[in-house]
């Protein structure tokens, strides 16, 4: 401080001197407002006032000028901000008008095309999007969407611009007589069943996906074989017989809007997409969504399906690896894998079961055109090693290799790293595999998130919600599909992850929700195609650890999946079993000349899986349209002394 004072004292005469000079300049140049501020600091700093009225005037002027300048600046800034603010508000308020008129226009003409476009676009918002609303405007702020309140015919005046109105609850019904949690195959089957049996039923499906209910099998089969380059958008596939269909069970016009659910005369099925049920209050018969809205119900179905499992080594491997890994289950996974497969040189599929093998064959087919390297690795000895007996698994593996797949069996993944722009997979036996992208098909983890809040039992052996033979978990709560661990009267407690089971169990749950009280009895089937030469249908417990008896005939060119569907005139395999009701199959194509059989050529046959000498599972190997016989044998649950005699019932030598 002392130092300051001495410095200050030294400066003072200087300041005085400079102010004198200033004054002199000013007198000469005439009083000039602009110049004076430059001298102001000196004048201000002088401790000893120079004295004289003139200086005081100048001083006052300078201060005034400074204030004025500051004032002008401040005014300008505030004005500018205010203008910007007004502009923004105007913009916001103009948007609801634009959107309302657009929505009104599109709703008046419910073109299938416009609506079709919305269903295929992913809407990753957490707000509810009633399906008919054009959900293409993703950029509009929540306030306006809530303000417009979806496609009701009445034109609503939007609220004061800039005010955030309550977003979701106005669109979600507060009560649903039938509430179905999950929007997959089981849920849709239940919805259909309920509507068929309870006239005017009001069914609400709540799904956290953005898509309407769709079927999953084509995602790993038919869609990959489509010739249409826009298949990832249309999601339509051409079946062998030329008929085309969408993977969606129904177009959007089948469903009604959630907010119309309570008022529609004859009821209907409404789908609330992009909403997750996070809490279930069983005592109060209501659920809570992730946006805190509550929906009460009379009857509830849990059909939450599952989430693909991942390998721990991949989960821990870091972002560069995980972002090059696909866990395949949904439509988005199909789209992204399709894109990836066109842009990389090498894809590796980890997993040798249904999904892994089907994807390997589908991609292997592509590899012939594009030069894509397709690798499949798994811990078993052969493809479908946990399903097929060893000899058949080996045979299948050869066929898969013929589809262009590099198969690495008995492979246990030890680590995965990202190095030199490639993924390096190291196996436990030391082998190293370099690839660009990984598809993990290592199983499904059933989604039992609601078990805790709902107080529902989870099965420790099979996973999933534990339910009885009528698929009931507790009063008013049923579970169906992949997430249901149910009691099968004939085969014992089990959990099944197949498409037809989702349909059968969904239907059954729907029947029981409308008062039927029927147990699981009609055995569901499943099927798989591994290329055009290998196809099979199966029913019951098909576990390769069980003793098996296989009865084979010689295969001709007629006995392939392709021929089967061409003959029956239907497309997807399971349809050939069901919808083929009143008519006989269309005339078969001209038979090809018989193929000279190899001694161990397992062309056609039937394989029985035994448990305590009773047939609990049957595979129909390249033999089609005979599922009723197989179902009957399992239903009977009898011990048969000679299974060759039982095999005769299938007429495997005929078509």
């Amino acid at each position: 401080m002392l130092k300051c004072r001495t410095v200050w004292k030294k400066l003072a005469p200087l300041a005085r001197a400079s102010s004198t000079v200033c004054r002199q300049n000013v007198r000469r140049a005439g009083l000039n407002n602009g110049r004076i501020p430059a001298c102001v600091p000196a004048a201000h700093m002088s401790t000893g006032p120079a004295g004289g009225g003139r200086e005081n005037q100048l001083y006052a002027l300078l201060v005034g000028a400074a204030c004025l300048g500051g004032g002008i600046y401040a005014y300008r800034t505030v004005k500018g901000d205010s203008k910007r603010y007004q502009d923004r508000l105007e913009e916001i308020s103009s948007r609801p008008h634009k959107k309302a008129s657009e929505q009104a226009a599109t709703f008046i003409q419910p073109e299938a095309l416009a609506v079709e476009a919305t269903e295929t676009k992913a809407v990753p918002k957490s707000e509810p999007e009633p399906q008919a609303a054009p959900s293409t405007e993703k950029s509009s702020p929540p306030a306006t969407e809530a303000a417009v309140a979806a496609p009701s015919e009445t034109t609503e005046t939007p609220p004061a611009p800039g005010v955030d109105s309550v977003p979701a609850s106005s669109k979600v019904p507060s009560h649903a007589p039938y509430l179905l949690i999950g929007g997959g195959t089981a849920s849709f089957a239940a919805a259909r069943s309920i509507r068929a049996r309870d006239p005017g039923a009001r069914v609400l499906i709540v799904t956290d996906e953005a898509d309407l209910p769709y079927m999953r099998p084509p995602l790993s089969k038919e869609l990959w074989f489509s010739d249409d380059p826009s298949v990832t958008e249309t999601l339509r596939f051409k079946q062998w017989n030329g008929k085309e269909r969408s993977i969606y069970f129904q177009p959007p016009s089948f469903y009604i809007n959630p907010e119309e659910l309570e008022s529609t005369d004859n009821g209907g099925v409404a789908v609330l997409t992009g909403k997750k049920v996070v809490h279930m209050d069983v005592r109060g018969n209501k659920v809570k969504l992730d946006d805190n809205t509550e929906i009460s119900y009379d009857k509830c179905l849990i059909a939450t399906g599952g989430v693909p499992r991942n390998l721990q080594v991949i989960e821990r491997a870091g972002d560069e690896v995980t972002k090059r890994t696909t866990l395949f289950r949904k439509i988005d996974d199909f789209k992204s894998l399709d894109k990836v497969s066109r842009n990389v040189q090498s894809v590796t599929i980890i997993g040798g079961g249904f999904l892994g093998s089907e994807l390997a064959c589908a991609l292997g087919r592509r590899s012939t055109e594009s030069g894509l390297e397709v690798i499949q690795m798994y811990p078993e000895k052969g493809n479908m090693g946990k399903v097929l007996p060893e000899y058949l698994s080996n045979w299948t593996t050869q066929k898969v290799k013929k589809e262009g797949v590099k198969v690495i069996s008995e492979a246990l993944v030890k680590s995965v790293i990202y190095k030199d722009d490639k993924l390096e997979i190291k196996l436990k036996d030391g082998r190293l595999v370099k690839t660009d992208h990984i598809v993990a098909a290592v199983g499904l983890e059933p989604n039992v998130d609601l078990a805790k809040s709902a107080g529902l039992e989870v099965d420790s052996d099979f996973g999933g919600f534990r339910v009885n033979a009528e698929l009931q978990a507790r009063s008013n709560i049923w579970v169906a599909g992949d997430a249901a661990c149910f009691y099968d009267i004939r085969l014992g407690r089990r959990r099944v992850e197949h498409h037809d089971h989702a349909v059968v169990s969904g239907r059954l749950a729907g029947e029981n929700m409308t008062g039927a009280s029927k147990p699981y009895w009609h055995q569901s089937m499943f099927w798989s195609d591994l290329g055009p030469d290998v196809g099979y249908e199966a029913i019951g417990i098909v576990d390769s650890s069980l003793p098996t008896v296989g009865v084979f005939a010689k295969a001709t060119a007629k006995d392939t999946p392709k021929a089967a569907t061409e003959k029956s005139g239907t497309g997807i395999r399971s349809e050939s079993e069901t919808e083929d009701v009143a008519t006989s199959p269309a005339a078969s194509s001209t038979p090809a000349p018989p193929v000279e059989p190899h001694k161990d050529d397992y062309g056609k046959g039937v394989i029985f899986y035994l448990r305590d000498k009773v047939v609990v599972g049957i595979i129909l190997w390249n033999v089609f349209n005979r599922m009723p016989v197989a179902r009957k044998i399992i239903k009977d649950g009898e011990e048969h002394a000679d299974l060759n005699e039982v095999a005769k019932l299938f007429n495997i030598h005929e078509d």
């Binding site: 068929a196 098996t548 296989g550 009701v581």
Partner: protein, 147 residues
């Protein structure tokens, strides 16, 4: 000659055509036509219509489900000489409803629903099959939803 081979716990039989041409001596349990657990066809054992039959596709459950049920019930229980002749009103109402949803119901619904052919468009609802007989529909083998 039919050959038999064992591979561990698995038995493999290669059967000749002649062998399988002889009738099987495997015994199957007789079916109970009134088994309450069984999946039914279009017509239930008590004569009623099974609206949940997979063969109907989604006809009874869609937006025009009520109209469809009215029309079809009327037809089913009709005792007129020309069956269903008193049901024109219901059929018209159904047709009117279906015309409002062209992508669900293909515009071939002028014809009275006959037996379903496998050639019908699978992308939308199939026209309803009418099996006016006492025997139930052949049991569907799997219940996969198409339409």
């Amino acid at each position: 000659m039919t050959s038999v081979r064992e591979e561990g716990k698995d038995r493999i039989i290669f059967a000749t055509k002649e062998d399988h041409a002889t009738p099987s001596n495997a015994e199957l349990i007789e079916e109970d036509p009134n088994d309450p657990y069984e999946e039914r066809g279009l017509i239930l054992p008590n004569g009623e219509i099974n609206w949940n039959c997979p063969c109907l596709g989604g006809m009874a459950s869609g937006p025009c489900g009520t109209e469809f049920k009215d029309a079809f019930s009327c037809f089913h229980y009709s005792k007129e000489e020309v069956k269903g002749s008193e049901c024109l009103e219901q059929f018209r109402a159904m047709q009117e409803c279906m015309q409002r949803y062209p992508d669900l119901y293909p515009q071939e619904d002028d014809k009275v629903p006959e037996e379903k052919s496998s050639e019908t468009e699978q992308t939308s609802q199939d026209s309803a099959p009418v099996q006016d007989s006492d025997t139930p529909q052949p049991n569907t083998e799997s219940s996969v939803e198409s339409s």
